[in-house]
Point group: C2
Chain length 644, copies 2
Amino acid sequence: MAKHLVVFQPSGRRAEVEEGTTLMDAARNMGVDIETICGTKHTCGQCKVQIQEGEFAREGIISSMEHVSALNPDEVKFLRRVKEPNMRLACVAEVRGDVVVFVPERSRAGRQVVRKAARELVVEVAPAVLKYYVELIPPTLRDTLGDQERLLDALHAVYGLEGLYLDYRVLRELSDILRASEWKVTVSVWRGREVQRVESGFVDDLYGVAVDVGTTTVAGYLTDLKTGKVVATESMMNPQVRYGEDVMSRITYAQEHEGGRELLTTAIREGLDQIFTNLAARKRLKPTDISEVVLVGNTAMHHLFVGLDPVYLGKAPFPPVLHHSLDVRARDMGLSSLHPATNVHVLPNEAGFVGADNVGVLLAEEPYNQDEIWLIIDIGTNGEIILGNREKLISSSCATGPAFEGAHIKFGMRAAPGAIERVRIAVGGRDVSYRLIAPPSRREEVRAKGICGSGIIDAVAEMYRAGVLLPSGRFAKDLDTPRLRRGEDGPEFVLAWADETDVGADITITQADVRALQLAKSAMYAGIKLMMRRLGVEQVDRVILAGAFGSYIDKVQAMTIGLFPDCDLEKVYAVGNAAGDGARIALVNAAKRDEADRVAREVEYIELTVEPDFERVFMEAMYFPHMKDKFPHLEEVLGRAVGA
Amino acid sequence: MAKHLVVFQPSGRRAEVEEGTTLMDAARNMGVDIETICGTKHTCGQCKVQIQEGEFAREGIISSMEHVSALNPDEVKFLRRVKEPNMRLACVAEVRGDVVVFVPERSRAGRQVVRKAARELVVEVAPAVLKYYVELIPPTLRDTLGDQERLLDALHAVYGLEGLYLDYRVLRELSDILRASEWKVTVSVWRGREVQRVESGFVDDLYGVAVDVGTTTVAGYLTDLKTGKVVATESMMNPQVRYGEDVMSRITYAQEHEGGRELLTTAIREGLDQIFTNLAARKRLKPTDISEVVLVGNTAMHHLFVGLDPVYLGKAPFPPVLHHSLDVRARDMGLSSLHPATNVHVLPNEAGFVGADNVGVLLAEEPYNQDEIWLIIDIGTNGEIILGNREKLISSSCATGPAFEGAHIKFGMRAAPGAIERVRIAVGGRDVSYRLIAPPSRREEVRAKGICGSGIIDAVAEMYRAGVLLPSGRFAKDLDTPRLRRGEDGPEFVLAWADETDVGADITITQADVRALQLAKSAMYAGIKLMMRRLGVEQVDRVILAGAFGSYIDKVQAMTIGLFPDCDLEKVYAVGNAAGDGARIALVNAAKRDEADRVAREVEYIELTVEPDFERVFMEAMYFPHMKDKFPHLEEVLGRAVGA
């Protein structure tokens, strides 16, 4: 029987399957979850997927359907071909050739566990937009003052406001609103100068939205700008994922595809509009009730949602188009769900690889107000590092690669139900226990499908401590455990036996997986060491793990593999989505934006790869740390744990 | 044979014609000039007209073609039906029913004589946009400053410019331009703060366009902003003419037709884009080379090109949407020929009926800097009046109606070839001589078709002085001249016998025509008298006739009918398109814009109709002046003339 390569996006899972296999079966074999309610009886229509081979990459448009079976009458009633070109039901369509299949978010059964909840922030409530209610005296033949001037005069008389002007789009709708409201209106004034909204009658509500545009996840926080509290949170997978999983692949897409940059920009803007609409609906508002938006993201995301060319971010010397914060009107950014006059504030970038999201982290943590030396690391495809205190702050970025996110790992997967997220291995490597991500209601049924990022760190750290791995990262030779064996790709260690899994195979950590993790942690560790040298410090007083991933890794395990230098573990902690927190701070308190612009310029960016002995430091960092020598705090903690 | 009503737009000429008459013949019989080169042999395609009956008024879209003959194969090759719906050749299409026919400007043989030439102005050259050339040091791995900051730093280092920011659309194209130009660029800075253009290499040219948007004619002046000189002039009929000839009919159209306001706004904006494109082409430029635009127009035109709702301008108490000047980006105004970041400056309005065009007149004439009492009148469908000096200026508007433009006059027509523009009548009314508008090359062939505005004033003034008209405006009873006769509409006076004309009929001035002119001049005169009373002055020191029409009327004749009060005729003069001059002044010298805003607020607008004895003054002003009593200067001049 002929075999064909099937690739599922956005997970990137790929395998050869026999001709005639349904896409649903292929997905299950590869651990790709596709929603089904009817159990593949062709009756629920939940398993829609999009066929994308061939033409996809070249045109952004898909036309060829030859590599799957012909459309079946069962499918037709579920498919709206004009709006959803090349959609098929995964339980019906069969593989006839090599094919790329995109699984839309709504068809993903194990939707990503979004770990971007909002935490409580302490920040003075002083938003950019304030509302003022005024009642105007209507014009008469003896008082024919124009509508704009009548409004501005009243704002001056009642509130002492001066030097205001109306945004062009507000001006266009002014006359009708004044008359429809019988000259009683509520006026939104942005930063004490620009009128951005005129609403009928007395309107007390004041809402804004802070958005953290991550490479993978976009999280929006609807915030009550009178209290500063988050009143609704929405998140979604970044819609750009279909054009590339990571930052570099999207920059490449923008560069190599005619109109690619516009496609990426349109994708994220449509996603943002969806988030605004969903957030507003949660509080029975209209998206046009949102008075302001603050956006953060890494430089590539920043450039793409702003509509700037990201190509030079991917070419040495990697300069950004701009550093400074931006205020762009919603209409200029093509955010059509918002009122066209709404301001969109974008936090500044520090450098080509250290973006507005990192500035958000700075605002949230304020290392620039500290005496202690703080190390803040934001772990993702790129590791972003800030080091220093009130006297000097330096930042850098290191290419950790996607290993921390489960990519390029044989059984790697996203942090979704069925992922191994915690691992314990007894010394000697015989006994392994693990914990799976699972919704509480389905905890009993969920079986292992793969390993997510925190699970990989856990597994490797435990393998090292159990003696399965040597400090060099090689597997130990003569260990008496059936879990350590020679696989088809070299030595591997079995975390879960096939009968415990949902994928019909042993879930293993291979030598290549260990190497991938070593490269990632080495990039991070070497970067930190070089920065410490630049700053002239021997040790750090505090390690702050920013980003969703930082919240889910076990800090002891992370230190065990040498992800960051030794530090009192009491002073190592995660702050979750600090970038999003920073966006919320800048949303709630407009003065913080000036602070952000100042700090973003003060932080000195270090390009690590041009440091003279970068390669030597990087190679040394590949090793797992010898605990006693360099990690006294870790030794202490682990000693206690063993002794207990 | 059946007869059908045919109406030609924009002239408004209407007549019943026999079924089967070609549109070209119908047009000729009515004095509507349609271009033809082949002489109606169906071979030149110059005589395209658009059929607009029925559906036109209701939908803004035309569908019915039943009232003209079916499409003839001869026509098809000249017509692009998709782009030009319902276009026909006038020499082919025959009348089959009542029909409204629009004659596009390009098909009009006797194109309007545009009387909006630019005059020399003395104004300091200090435009809003200045250009700066800089050469940047490209980024390296040790200097990864962002593109925007690299540019701004260089502008600061070389020129000391501070606090600049880039317009959003400039930012979007910045990176590519910097690299394509090898980091050598010319930067356009608007008002010392906003970067509105970054061009490759060294660019020395600096151009702007001033536009006077008249109700009938739109005139644009391409101006070299280094010298202040006009280097090209373009004018066109206001494309809104198809939706109504005068201001009120357009306001009504905006109000009564779904989407009417947008249609009017789109029409004028497309016209402006055409003017920018034509002006640029005249100097081998691209319209995107235009650095700034300044617009003036009456309040209705202002509201429509800005995109504001003009409806309240047409309803008591007639307030404008705004007074203050506006700076709108070309992209917001939908001016797609310009670079999207280009600033469009719109001069302020004084009041609901005294618009930015009048502010332009103020800037050009500066009555606010005079000791003498000046009277400035801008004669059009609305007469706009300014009276006063440096101590106080008042303004008003009077509804003169369209008589001065030849409308509502039996043989009235625009100032186009064939129009009687000057008349002399000997005492007794037997001998009449007149002069026609004609291109020099065709002076011999042109024959009378009608009477334009200045011709009507001439004719009535001469009829009065010749004794044909009494001071009340009635025709004299027992005059011995065949020219004074009883026509079908009452008494009338023959200016041109049928055999001298191109319309196959005697061209006459009827009693109704005289009444229409009396109403128009009375509105103007009564307004001036009421304003003089308000200001407490008995006479004016100077009378300035602004507007194209003011340049073409004979000031002695105008004073004879009592269009304005007595004044030393040496001090009565026309200044042509002073509104356009004001726009040019504000274009060339940005500081004049602040002056305009200040003056526009200082001028006190008087609503004449609420003056207690408005009606009495208006009725008195209907009479032609008794020269000796009230017009000593006129008496003197006319006395000399008679004596000569």
